[in-house]
C-alpha cells in the first residue's frame, strides 16, 4: 500500500481487499465488551477538520482510540486557521508536533495532496471538496460485501449529484477496482461533461436501471443546487430521481439501499425506504469506524516493532 490514502484510485485490488479483510477481523473486536487494541499505542493521529463534519470526525476519532493511538482534534473554527493561517503553516505545526498520521477534511479539492507534500506522516483524505472521500467508498464496499458477498460482477447504481460528490468519485474508482459494474444516474446537469470517460455506465432514467441493480446508493442532494439551475424544483427532482416506495418495489428482492448521510428524507429518499430492512444506512455508520481502524492500522501499524 502507498504511504497515504488520498484517492480510492491509489488502491490496487489487493490493497482494497486487504483493507476489507482487515476490517472484517477488526469488526470482531468491536463486538467485544472491551473494544480497545494496543496496536497504535504511542502513535499520534491528528484529525484536521477544516469543514464541519462531526460524523466523520467522530468516526475517525473512535477508530484511532480503539487502536490506542493518541488523538488530537484540530478544528479550523476558533483556531489560528480562522485568523488566516495558511494550510502550509498548519501542516508545519502538525509536523513539529510529530503527527504520525493526519486525517484531513477540507473544502478545497486537492488539499490532501498539498498537505502530503509538507508533512512526513501519512495523510488520510477524509473528504476534499468535490473530489474524493476514499474511506467512505471503503466502508460502502465493506457494507455491500457483508450483505451481498463478493462484489465481482455486482451491479451498483449511484444516484444523484455526481458532479459535486466526492462519495461518487471514490465509489466509482473503488467499485471498478473490485470488479463491480457501476451505473451513475442523475439529471445531465449534475454529471461532469467528461463522465463518458469514467469506468462506469451512465443513465438519466432511474426506473430503467433499478430492476437490474444489486445495490442502489442515493446521494445527498443539496437544495441550494436548485438556485444554480441544476434542477427546477425539489418536487421535480424527487419525482424523477428520488427513491420512493414505488421505485423501491421495482428493485430485485435481495437488492440493498445505501446512503452516505446525512439524508434529506422525502427528497432523494423516502422515509420508509431509508428505514426498511434492506437499507444499510445505519450499518454504514458502524462500518465506518471499523474500516477507518483498518486503514489506520495498515498505514501506521506496519512501522511498529
Amino acid at each position: 500500500m502507498k504511504r497515504h490514502l488520498i484517492s480510492a484510485g491509489d488502491l490496487t485490488k489487493d490493497d482494497a481487499l486487504l483493507i476489507l479483510d482487515t476490517a472484517e477481523e477488526l469488526a470482531r473486536v468491536s463486538e467485544r465488551s472491551i473494544k480497545k487494541l494496543p496496536t497504535l499505542r504511542g502513535r499520534t493521529v491528528v484529525n484536521l477538520f477544516f469543514e464541519d463534519s462531526t460524523r466523520t470526525r467522530i468516526s475517525f476519532e473512535a477508530a484511532a482510540k480503539r487502536l490506542s493511538a493518541d488523538v488530537i482534534n484540530f478544528s479550523a473554527k476558533g483556531s489560528s486557521v480562522s485568523k488566516g493561517e495558511s494550510l502550509k503553516d498548519t501542516a508545519l505545526t502538525l509536523e513539529a508536533m510529530g503527527a504520525d498520521a493526519v486525517v484531513i477534511r477540507h473544502s478545497a479539492s486537492g488539499a490532501p495532496h498539498r498537505l502530503a507534500t509538507w508533512v512526513r506522516g501519512s495523510v488520510v483524505n477524509a473528504g476534499d471538496g468535490t473530489h474524493e472521500h476514499p474511506t467512505q467508498a471503503l466502508l460502502d464496499a465493506f457494507s455491500m460485501r457483508r450483505r451481498l458477498g463478493s462484489l465481482e460482477g455486482r451491479k451498483v447504481t449511484i444516484v444523484g449529484d455526481v458532479l459535486h460528490s466526492r462519495v461518487a468519485r471514490s465509489n466509482v474508482l473503488l467499485l471498478n477496482t473490485l470488479g463491480a459494474e457501476v451505473t451513475l444516474v442523475a439529471p445531465p446537469t449534475l454529471l461532469p461533461v467528461s463522465v463518458g470517460t469514467w469506468p462506469c455506465e451512465v443513465s438519466y432514467d432511474l426506473d430503467a436501471v433499478l430492476p437490474k441493480s444489486d445495490a442502489v446508493m442515493m446521494l445527498r442532494v443539496q437544495k441550494e443546487r436548485m438556485n444554480a439551475a441544476y434542477f427546477p424544483s425539489e418536487r421535480e427532482y424527487s419525482r424523477r430521481y428520488g427513491l420512493d416506495r414505488e421505485r423501491f418495489a421495482k428493485m430485485p428482492d435481495e437488492a440493498i439501499v445505501m446512503h452516505p448521510g446525512p439524508m434529506n428524507r422525502g427528497m432523494e429518499i423516502a422515509a420508509e425506504v431509508a428505514d426498511s430492512a434492506r437499507s444499510t444506512i445505519v450499518e454504514q455508520v458502524a462500518n465506518g469506524v471499523t474500516i477507518r481502524m483498518a486503514v489506520l492500522y495498515l498505514l501506521l501499524g506496519g512501522e511498529t516493532a
Binding site: S86, H113, R114, H131, R166, V193
Partner: protein
Amino acid sequence: MIIRNVRILGGEPADIRIEDGAIAEIGPNLPGESVVDGAGAIALPGLVDLHTHLREPGREDAETVQTGTQSAARGGYTAVHAMANTSPVADTAGVVEQVWRLGREFAHCDVHPVGAVTVGLEGKQLAELGAMADSAARVRVFSDDGKCVDDAVLMRRALEYVKAFDGVVAQHAQEPRLTAGAQMNEGVVSGRLGLTGWPAVAEEAIIARDCLLAAHVGSRLHVCHVSTAGSVEIIRWAKSKGWNVTAEVTPHHLLLTDDLVEESPVGAYNPIYKVNPPLRTRADVEALRAALADGTIDIVATDHAPHPVEDKETEWSAAAMGMVGLETALSVVQEAMVETGLLDWAGVAQRMSVVPARIGRLGGQGQPLDVGAPANITLYDPSARTKVDPSAFASKSRNTPYEGMTLPGRVVATFLRGRPTVLEGKLV
C-alpha cells in the same frame, strides 16, 4: 560601437554598427572598436510584449516596474505593455503617467501602460480613455485584463470610442457566469479532480460576440491569450471576412496542458499550473501552434503574472492565477515553434516584435534590423540548453511552471536604442 558576428534573423554572419542609438551600417568585417562579440548569435529586433503585469502600483511585493523591466530585458524585450489591473487601477491619466515615468526612470526597457476600459475594472462605466490617450503615456491599448468587458453595450461603446485616437480594445474573453468559481479547463481532468470546470465556450462565446461587434462598428479588436481550438476557428473566420481582429497566445498555452494539474513532477493540484485562461488540452495546444504559424494568431504575448510564494503555496482553490513568463518566453517559443519546424527566426521576429509593436502603435519599436532603424536588438543563442532556475530570475517572483525543465536557447544581450541593457546574459 559595433556588434560583431551576429546572424540577423538567423541569416549569414555580419557586423552591426550603431551610432546615436540607431543602426548605421550592416556588413561583414566592419572597421572600428568592437564592443560586443556576438559569437554567431541570432539577432532579432528587440522583443515587444503586449501583455505584462508589472504589479506597480499596489503589489510591489510581487513585482515592481524596476524588477519587471529588468526581467523583460533579461528575456530579450525592449518594450512591454503594463496591464491596468494595478491598485489603484490604471484608469486615469495620473496612474498611467506614473507607470510610464517609472519605466523611463529605470530604462531597462520601454514601458507602455495599458489603460483600463472601465472605471476600476468594474465593467460599469467607461474610464477616461481619451485622457489616457492624450497623456504623456500616449495610451493606445485598453484592457480590463483579468476581467472581461462582458456587457455587450459597454464593449460596443469602447470599441467605437477608441477609433478617435486609433486605440485598440484588448479583451480578456471570459463569460463570467459560465466561469463562476471555475478552477481549471472543463474536461476529463477537471471531472476526475473534482475542480469546477472552466469551459472553452466561455472564451469562445465572447470572442465571437466581440468579432461581430468590432465588424459592426468598424473598430480594432485584440483578443488576449487565446487558449482554445474553438477560439482559433472563430478568429480565422473573422479574419476571412477582413475584419480588424488580432490575437495573441501565451508561451505557456503553446507548451503546457491541463494534465499537469493531475500529474507532474511537483505533485497533483500544484497551483504553479493555475492560470487564467487555464491550461487546455493537447488538441488545443496543437491548434494554437498551427494558428500562430499560419498567422491566425498574430503574436506571442507573455501574460507575465508575478505572484509571491505565499499566494501559490496553498491549496488549489485559494491560489492566485498566473505565471511569470518574460525570462522564458523566447526559449518556450523556440521549443514549441522553431524546434518543431513551424516557424523560422524571421517568423519569430514578426510575432514577438514587429506585429506586437504595430498593434500597440509603437513607432520606435519592432522595426526590422535595417540601416536607419532604432538599435533595439536582441542577441539570442539558440544552441544553448538551460535548466530553468527561478532563483536566478530578475523578476521578484518565482512562479514559473518550467522550474527544473531544460529549455533551448539563451538571451545573450539586449540593446535598447543602442545601449546594452543585458550583456552576456546579465543585466547591465
